[in-house]
């Protein structure tokens, strides 16, 4: 008995020594990242959120890609693309690309991928999938996609649709496809231990050349104070989602460098305009807009980490118009407008919003309620988890709500059909128009843009639309968020954040 115990102890200590050596082997071109979101799965079509796509973008490639901090559309698995007519998109594919399992990439994989998009069992891109009428393989390296209706932003979205290997995806078990990515991407998955880490290694055969960082270890940490501790103690080289409260602490730490990037997402307020509701009156809408002290929200609640917004799209989006200005903060004028509209004594309204979705979301809603109280509008605050808020939004039962948005296609058309167009269940318009806002003028102008292909004409039409929507106060814009990252100075990584918050490791330089 005693002898056995001894043996066990020996074995144990031997194991411990081994593991010390194992951990010492890691060094050099390895980056350890503490990320605020964990992946849901490794099936690149099963999650269309930015946090999911951020992971997929390293294992897979789209036909096109958006690189670096500007986000311009560039070739990837397609070397060029054209639009012969309104409904047709033609992609010329890159030759000599291999999937991680050695299979060659060709047009059949593209056809397979686009047909897979419309299957709700494996895809959250059903909207894209079902908009496609046919995918035709012209030859091994040319594909023609026809859409049912003209979709001006179709190519703009091609960096989000990742190409899968037809042969292995069809052959493998469902659960294997959902956990082990086989793509053409710059990195191969080494190991994914759920809740712990994702390890990946550089793809030596990558068509764009081997990425400079050879090993990546991502450790998702939900709790922001723990992420901060991981950063300060040097356990992570790069940390995403630095909370605004801890900004100064990171900034003042000599070992760390903070990286700020204006985010694409804008935060704004939706407001009903049903006949007989007080907010149907444009004067009341303007009064609410003017009663909110946005500069103070940015200074006090966002601690300076936000930029005032005068419209929903951000500057790089097609349809952004620099001519649109915010209405000034002017509570006296707001009260005057309310009086003119017949609401000198104010009215009651419920402001709904999520409390776990956007930076400081619940606090922003509280502040709005306080500003409105000053001009006599009695706001009942109703903030709740996003899992309950978004179903209510989809039902369209809200009067007044806080929401944030940005469009991955860099084209405002798609977003406006979701957010601003009157609700039309058959056509699928207005699915996120939470208060059933409806304006015939805005709808008509928006529908007219759907056929406009020419980029300049399109930009002009969308700018006009945007101007009209803001004149009518379809939404009350508040601010654009700012993304905050931190890196260890001593590691010397060059990291330029992307506007879409994805972390694409081939873009990071050691």
């Amino acid at each position: 008995m005693k002898k056995n115990k001894c043996k066990f102890l020996w074995l144990l200590s031997f194991g411990l020594i081994l593991s010390i050596f194992a951990s010492a082997a890691l060094a050099g071109d390895t980056i350890i990242v503490a990320q605020d979101t964990a992946p849901r799965m490794m099936n690149p079509h099963g999650d269309d959120s930015d946090s999911g796509l951020s992971y997929f973008a390293n294992f897979f490639d789209g036909l096109l890609q958006r690189k670096g901090s500007g986000g311009e559309l560039e070739p990837a698995l397609a070397t060029k693309w054209e639009r012969p007519d309104e409904l047709t998109w033609k992609f010329y594919l890159r030759k000599g690309v291999k999937f991680h399992n050695g299979n060659s990439f060709n047009a059949l994989d593209v056809k397979f991928t686009f047909e897979r998009l419309s299957d709700p069992k494996v895809s959250e891109f059903t909207n894209t999938g079902k908009s496609i009428a046919s995918v035709t393989v012209i030859d091994d390296y040319t594909v023609e996609i026809k859409t049912k209706d003209p979709i001006p932003w179709f190519a703009n979205n091609m960096h989000q649709v990742f190409i899968m290997d037809k042969e292995s995806t069809e052959k493998r078990e469902f659960s294997d496809v959902f956990e082990k990515p086989i793509g053409t991407g710059a990195y191969k998955l080494v190991e994914w231990v759920k809740g712990s880490y994702i390890k990946m290694e550089a793809n030596a055969d990558y068509w764009e050349g081997v990425p400079p960082i050879k090993n990546v270890e991502i450790r998702p940490i939900k709790e922001s104070s723990t992420r901060f501790a991981a950063l300060v103690s040097g356990q992570a080289d790069l940390v995403t989602g630095i909370p605004v409260e801890l900004f100064d602490k990171v900034k003042n730490n000599p070992k760390l460098e903070i990286i700020q990037k204006p985010a694409r997402r804008s935060i704004f307020l939706g407001l009903e305009n049903k006949i007989d509701s007080p907010t149907a009156d444009i004067r009341v809408r303007k009064a609410i807009y003017m009663a909110i002290n946005e500069d103070e929200i940015i200074a006090k609640i966002m601690r300076g980490h936000a930029f005032p917004a005068a419209q929903i799209p951000d500057p790089p989006t097609i349809g952004y118009s620099a001519d649109i200005k915010r209405l000034p903060y002017d509570p006296a004028k707001a009260m005057e407008l309310l009086k003119e509209a017949g609401y000198a004594d104010g009215f009651d309204i419920t402001l709904t919003g999520p409390n776990d979705r956007y930076v400081q979301d619940a606090k922003i809603a509280e502040a709005v309620a306080r500003y409105l109280a000053k001009v006599g509008i009695r706001v009942k605050l109703d903030v709740k988890p996003k899992s309950i808020f978004f179903p209510e939004l989809t039902k369209g039962i809200l009067n007044f709500y806080l929401i944030g948005w940005f469009d991955g296609t860099f084209d405002m058309g798609r977003t406006y059909f979701k957010l601003v167009h009157s609700r039309d269940e058959a056509k699928g318009y207005g699915a996120l128009n939470g208060s059933l806002y409806s304006d015939a003028g805005v709808d008509a102008l928006l529908e007219a843009t759907a056929d406009i292909v020419n980029p300049e004409k399109r930009a002009k039409a969308l700018m006009n639309l945007n101007k009209l929507a803001m004149d009518k106060v379809a939404y009350i814009p508040l601010h654009y968020q700012e993304d905050l990252y931190a890196i260890q100075k001593s590691k010397g990584f060059t990291f330029n954040p992307r506007p879409d918050r994805w972390i694409v490791y081939k873009e990071i330089m050691p």
């Binding site: 010390i20 269309d48 059903t126 909207n127 880490y197 709790e223 501790a229 991981a230 056509k427 699928g428």
Partner: protein, 321 residues
């Protein structure tokens, strides 16, 4: 004993049924999983299609009945969030939680009982008074605060212990263990300490109260007057009787911690089951939530039964007829 176990088993089944029904009741008000599975740009038609394919358009009693039939066959459904079987997703994380909680409960038991004995023997000594006051802190300071403070002190400022995660792990069959590596043990210290705080305080106070009561009993006085060694009197005569409620509570705490150490797991990003539960609640992943609640109920019920049996073993006076 046999009939007793059968009785407890039947009770357990009733509890499981009740818990699962409550889960389905709550699901009616806790968000729409279909909405989380269709993507941001889905149309109403697409949302409805997904809802139908999940059977979420049916009345709740039909949904429940279907779930029950499948569950009885061992099929707990597929996670809405990651679309792989819910049961596997949870069991994969069981070793992490089990190791953390076992170490924590073991530490709490050893330290709690020994301190309890020491404090009971000389209740008025200054050190012992300080220990008792400290135990009040252990009971009343919330876990998330203890965890955050420990991280800030030992990980962020002193930089002696890691702030999060499980460290290097070794896979042995289906079991992924962190107990065979130095880094695994290092990573265990802070979260285990966080869990120990409360448990330790409870066990300490329980042991102390029991000891003080037992030490005034006649048979202890007899033992002293017989001239037995203090070691024999304290450990063999007194502590054995005190241990009965202490073991009971330890067992119950063990079951509860396995099932619900989610706050500690989330703060330390410990890849255990509790961490998964919290994420699933945020994401309205109903199949994972209900499966988790079932597993938790089974663990707690079994812990109860085991404690009852142990009770009979330690205390021959107890008989289950």
């Amino acid at each position: 004993m046999g009939t007793y176990i059968v009785k407890r088993f039947i009770q357990g089944v009733v509890v499981l049924l009740a818990a699962s029904m409550i889960c389905f009741g709550i699901f009616q008000y806790s968000g729409d999983p279909a909405l989380n599975m269709v993507g941001q740009y889905a149309t109403f038609q697409e949302i409805n299609e997904v809802r139908e394919s999940l059977g979420l358009d049916k009345p709740v009693y039909i949904q429940y009945g279907k779930w029950l039939v499948n569950a009885l066959q061992g099929n707990f459904g597929v996670s809405y969030r990651s679309r792989v079987p819910a049961l596997g997703l949870i069991l994969e994380r069981f070793p992490a939680t089990f190791e953390l909680v076992s170490i924590a409960v073991f530490m709490a038991f050893c330290i709690g009982v020994s301190l309890g004995v020491v404090v009971a023997l000389k209740p008025n000594a200054l050190v012992n008074r300080i220990i008792m006051a400290g135990s009040l802190g252990g009971i009343s300071i919330p876990t998330f605060l203890i965890g955050t403070v420990l991280i800030m002190i030992f990980a962020a400022y002193l930089e002696v212990l890691p702030a999060f995660g499980r460290g290097d792990t070794i896979q042995i069959g289906f079991w992924r263990t962190g107990l065979l590596t130095v880094s695994g043990w290092k990573h265990l210290i802070l979260p285990a300490t966080t869990l120990v705080m409360y448990q330790l305080a409870v066990l300490l106070r329980l042991t102390r109260a029991g000891m003080r009561e037992v030490l005034t009993e006649d048979y202890i006085k007899t033992a002293w007057s017989k001239g037995l060694a203090p070691k024999t009197v304290i450990f063999k005569h007194a502590l054995r009787n005190v241990l009965i409620p202490v073991v009971t509570i330890t067992g119950l705490q063990f079951g509860e911690l396995i099932a619900f150490s989610l706050i500690t797991e989330t703060i330390f990003q410990w890849p255990g089951m509790g961490n998964l539960l919290l994420t699933s609640i945020y994401e309205t992943d109903q199949s994972v939530i209900v499966t988790y609640i079932m597993i938790a109920a089974v663990i707690i019920i079994s812990a109860n039964i085991i404690v009852d049996i142990l009770y009979a073993v330690i205390n021959p006076k107890v008989r289950y007829e």
